[in-house]
């Protein structure tokens, strides 16, 4: 662990460590030495007085109570796992760690081992520390008061946006929509059924929840605002049946309808799991390309197959197509959701992350509830895409894609998990 003390509290921090039974060696003690052992003579803690930084090498469990107390007393500013650094090859060419391991006589896949170790330590840090803002490495707490807006809308800066989605058509291809919901009276809604053996309205609820996030009202009754583009025109294509499942036939038909209707955005909170080594579906590569060239952006859920930290599954189909924007899910602490799939297969990447845990939105029958999933993250992106599209007619298709990524807030998390970062709405 690398521990950074708050200014002027380093001495107190060192005394906390010593009181906890840790042997602390200070850089000051080795000032006159001609050579310094890398472990500072076997000490548990190496303290660099000039920087106010301590490296703790042993016994994370013993550290936990001391750390908790030190954080409460604001003696410790930040804690993170120690990183391993390696040389790069000549002229900026990276040395292949696999070849290094082979030449050392070992058959271990080093990068996978190190990533697993890193993820496990990150998980331990998450459990030990209060929730923090990973984008600046401090241990501050990011909390959202949902009196006026859901936490997700706050995190993506919707409250400060002057845009509404007016004039923009969003197609949500899902389980349908309850257009009799009181929150949507007076809205422009076009619906079409594509799923087989299903009724035309939303009996499942998923579609109404997603449409709520993308297009919910500015002032719903009795709940905080939960919708992004409250003036957008809603196109609800029921491509998933009453059981929440659908096939390529109904999904592709829904996509074709959305483009024919002139929708600038298609939101698809659906997917089929893939495996490590799978290639993207070329059908959706082609469809996505046609849509982008025609000025329609498709956003899709990355998938919920992961069980982090131990198991990260690859992005599902159709989100894994390079011409479809793949959306991952983060929680209120802006950490990656433990179920969110990652860019494991080569060329199949997460493009952006959005709120996907504890997301409040509409449900059939005039109800509201919190759901989790990359399904919930995806319509946040669709709604913000509508705001951007409203701001300037040049933002369509490829340029709309680029603008979404340009506005994203970088997170201190792997691109494998969050792409360019957290979705952000434009001010105007």
């Amino acid at each position: 662990m690398v521990m950074r003390f708050t200014p002027k509290a380093a001495g107190t921090g060192v005394r906390h460590l010593e009181a906890g039974g840790f042997r602390v060696a200070s850089s000051r003690d080795f000032k006159s030495a001609t050579a310094v052992q890398s472990d500072f003579g076997g000490a548990d803690v190496q303290y660099f007085e000039r920087f106010g930084i301590a490296i703790i090498r042993r016994d994370g469990e013993r550290l936990k109570p001391m750390l908790q107390k030190a954080m409460e007393q604001k003696v410790v500013a930040a804690v993170r796992p120690e990183r391993v650094y390696r040389v790069l090859g000549e002229r900026g060419v990276e040395v292949d760690p696999y070849s290094l391991q082979a030449s050392a006589g070992r058959g271990v896949a080093v990068p996978d081992y190190l990533r697993g170790y890193r993820d496990a330590v990150n998980h331990l840090v998450d459990r030990m520390l209060p929730d923090g803002d990973p984008s600046d490495g401090t241990a501050g707490v990011e909390r959202f008061d949902e009196a006026g807006f859901t936490w997700g809308l706050q995190a993506i800066k919707v409250p400060s946006s002057a845009l509404t989605g007016a004039g923009i058509k969003i197609a949500v291809l899902d389980t349908g929509f309850d257009d009799s919901h009181p929150d949507f009276i007076g809205r422009s809604v076009t619906q079409k059924l594509f799923a087989s053996q299903s009724v035309s309205n939303d009996v499942h609820g998923h579609g109404t929840h997603c449409i709520g996030t993308a297009c919910g009202p500015q002032r719903p009754t009795g709940v905080p605002r939960y919708g992004v583009a409250y003036d957008a025109e809603i196109y609800a294509g029921k491509v998933l049946g009453d059981d929440g499942f659908g096939t390529d036939r109904s999904i592709i038909a829904g996509m074709d309808w959305a483009v024919e209707q002139g929708c600038q955005i298609i939101s698809m909170s659906l997917g089929a799991a893939t495996s490590v080594g799978d290639q993207p579906n070329d059908d959706y590569e082609q469809i996505g390309q046609v849509c982008l060239d025609a000025g329609t952006l498709i956003v899709a859920a990355a998938g919920n197959e992961s069980m982090r930290p131990g198991k990260i599954q690859p992005i599902g189909s159709p989100a894994n197509a390079t011409t479809i924007m793949a959306v991952a899910a983060v929680g209120q602490t802006l950490r990656i959701a433990d179920f969110s799939c990652g860019g494991i297969n080569s060329g199949q990447e997460v493009d952006i992350a959005a709120p996907g845990v504890g997301v409040l939105s509409s449900l059939p029958g005039g109800k509201h509830d919190r759901w989790n999933g990359t399904s919930m993250a995806t319509p946040h992106v669709a709604g913000v895409a509508a705001l951007i599209a409203e701001s300037d007619a040049k933002y369509r298709g490829w340029t709309l894609w680029a603008r979404l990524l340009q506005l994203a807030r970088p997170l201190n998390l792997p691109a494998r998990d969050v792409g360019k970062g957290l979705l952000q709405a434009p001010r105007r």
């Binding site: 899902d174 389980t175 499942h204 998923h206 929840h209 998933l240 929440g244 499942f245 659908g246 096939t247 390529d248 036939r249 999904i251 592709i252 038909a253 996509m255 074709d256 483009v259 024919e260 909170s269 659906l270 997917g271 089929a272 579906n281 070329d282 059908d283 082609q286 469809i287 046609v290 025609a294 859920a301 998938g303 919920n304 599902g316 189909s317 159709p318 179920f339 759901w371 989790n372 999933g373 990359t374 399904s375 919930m376 995806t378």
Partner: protein, 81 residues
């Protein structure tokens, strides 16, 4: 494609090369139907035809000039937990 009884029908997505098959999409759909593709749903905008076909005819569909791939349909689910 999974092994299935000879008379078994599968739902498929047929992809047409938009470049090589330019101007021939309707003709290709007719050829596919002639080879057993039923309940055809053509999407010329995408170069895609959905339909169902006896599993024994899948290879024949692939042999139509301008067809890039024939794939059995997958099932997709809502991504909420």
């Amino acid at each position: 494609m999974k092994a299935a009884p000879p008379g078994h029908t599968v739902d498929v997505t047929v992809r047409v090369d938009l470049g090589k098959a330019a101007g021939r999409f309707d003709e290709i759909v007719l050829l596919l139907e002639g080879l057993g593709l039923a309940d055809a749903a053509p999407h010329p905008r995408f170069g895609i035809v959905n339909g169902s076909v006896p599993v024994t005819q899948v290879a024949a569909l692939r042999g139509v000039a301008g067809v890039t791939s024939v794939r059995e349909d997958k099932v997709y689910g809502a991504q909420a937990r």
